[in-house]
């Protein structure tokens, strides 16, 4: 199955990925914008959506509700220009802890 990649992010992130050849992109400023952008991309059946960590954190509940345990689309969170937001909890680590029952030293 062929598919394309889309980006949701601030203007700098979007410009950067445009340079790399990603042509479907949404510049968003507010949470509402981001939710609408996500809806639109999902309607277009784009299977890989790159989103900045900050926006993803803001609309986390919305994303979880939309994606659930579906295989596609795949949402990938990346740091934006100022760098990783340095969140306290690492979602992957939490997940591993929940499953295995012990914390893995990474």
């Amino acid at each position: 199955m062929k598919s394309s990649v889309a980006v949701i992010g601030d203007i700098d992130t979007v410009t950067g990925f445009q340079l790399a050849g990603v042509k479907i992109n949404k510049v968003v400023k507010t949470n509402e914008d981001a939710e609408n952008a996500l809806d639109e991309l999902m309607n277009e059946e784009i299977s890989i959506i790159i989103i900045t960590e900050k926006i993803a954190d803001n609309i986390r509940e919305y994303i979880d509700k939309k994606i659930g345990s579906n295989v596609l689309p795949m949402i990938i969170e990346i740091p934006d220009k100022p760098g990783p937001s340095g969140r306290d909890s690492d979602p992957m680590g939490e997940l591993i802890k929940k499953v295995i029952g012990v914390e893995m030293v990474k």
Binding site: M1, K2, S3, S4, V5, I11, D12, T15, G16, F17, Q18, L19, A20, G21, V22, K23, S47, I48, I50, S69, V71, L72, M74, I75, I76, I78, P79, K81, G83, P84, M92, L95, I96, K98, V99, I100, M104, K106
Partner: protein, 214 residues
């Protein structure tokens, strides 16, 4: 601790036989599920090795890509950079297949990103800075890494969900279903034995009554 028994089951031989069959089935299912869980966890650890450092690599690549982009913006101006970015041709194509790990369908990405030359990118060199070229190159690298990372993270996410539900089933069988069936079987057996003894005593009594009558 008194084991909980199943409700609504008559202490008859028929039910006993049925229950024993159910116990066999439960034990078999339990061992199969346990094997599935162990296999999933093994698979999970294999993938965990792959994800190690993958996120850091993406972050590093992106960081240096953003540095170059900022430099390009400083040299050329925001608008010029955006204009150049808009003229880059669409070039990312991802092939998505799926693979099954113990019945869990996980995506497999196959991104085709050819090494692009400056000309392929499609903006003019005359009014662009070399830093823009650098930034574009780095963003391309980052994109490939990001897609790879996404595949791994999604796989991990799906696997954990499956492991969790399998674990729950194994535990439910091990700690609730099987003990419950076992204790029910035991109580029925005891009940049947008790009835047999009662019957035996009754026969003895009848026999002695008949003997004293004679």
């Amino acid at each position: 601790m008194a084991q909980e028994t199943m409700e609504g089951i008559n202490p008859t031989r028929m039910e006993l036989l049925k229950l024993k069959d159910r116990e066999k089935l439960a034990v078999k299912g339990h061992s199969l599920l346990k094997e599935k869980r162990d296999a999933l966890i093994k698979e999970f650890f294999d993938i965990l090795d792959k994800v190690k450092g993958s996120r850091e690599k993406v972050e590093e690549t992106l960081k240096s890509a953003f540095e170059d982009l900022t430099a390009a913006q400083v040299i050329m101006g925001d608008l010029a950079v955006q204009k150049s970015a808009l003229s880059v041709k669409e070039s990312v194509e991802v092939d998505i297949n799926s693979r099954s790990i113990m019945g869990v369908v996980v995506p497999v990405m196959d991104s085709k990103m050819d090494e692009k030359t400056l000309i392929d990118r499609g903006y003019s060199f005359a009014d662009t800075s070399v830093r823009l070229d650098e930034a574009a190159k780095k963003f391309e690298d980052a994109l490939a890494l990001i897609i790879e990372l996404g595949e791994i993270e999604k796989t991990i996410y799906l696997l954990t969900a499956e492991i969790e539900s399998t674990k729950r089933r194994v535990n439910a069988l091990e700690h609730i279903m099987i003990p419950k069936i076992k204790s029910t079987v035991k109580s029925i057996e005891m009940r049947l034995q008790e009835m047999e003894r009662e019957n035996f005593v009754r026969l003895k009594m009848i026999k002695s009554t008949i003997e004293t009558d004679e």
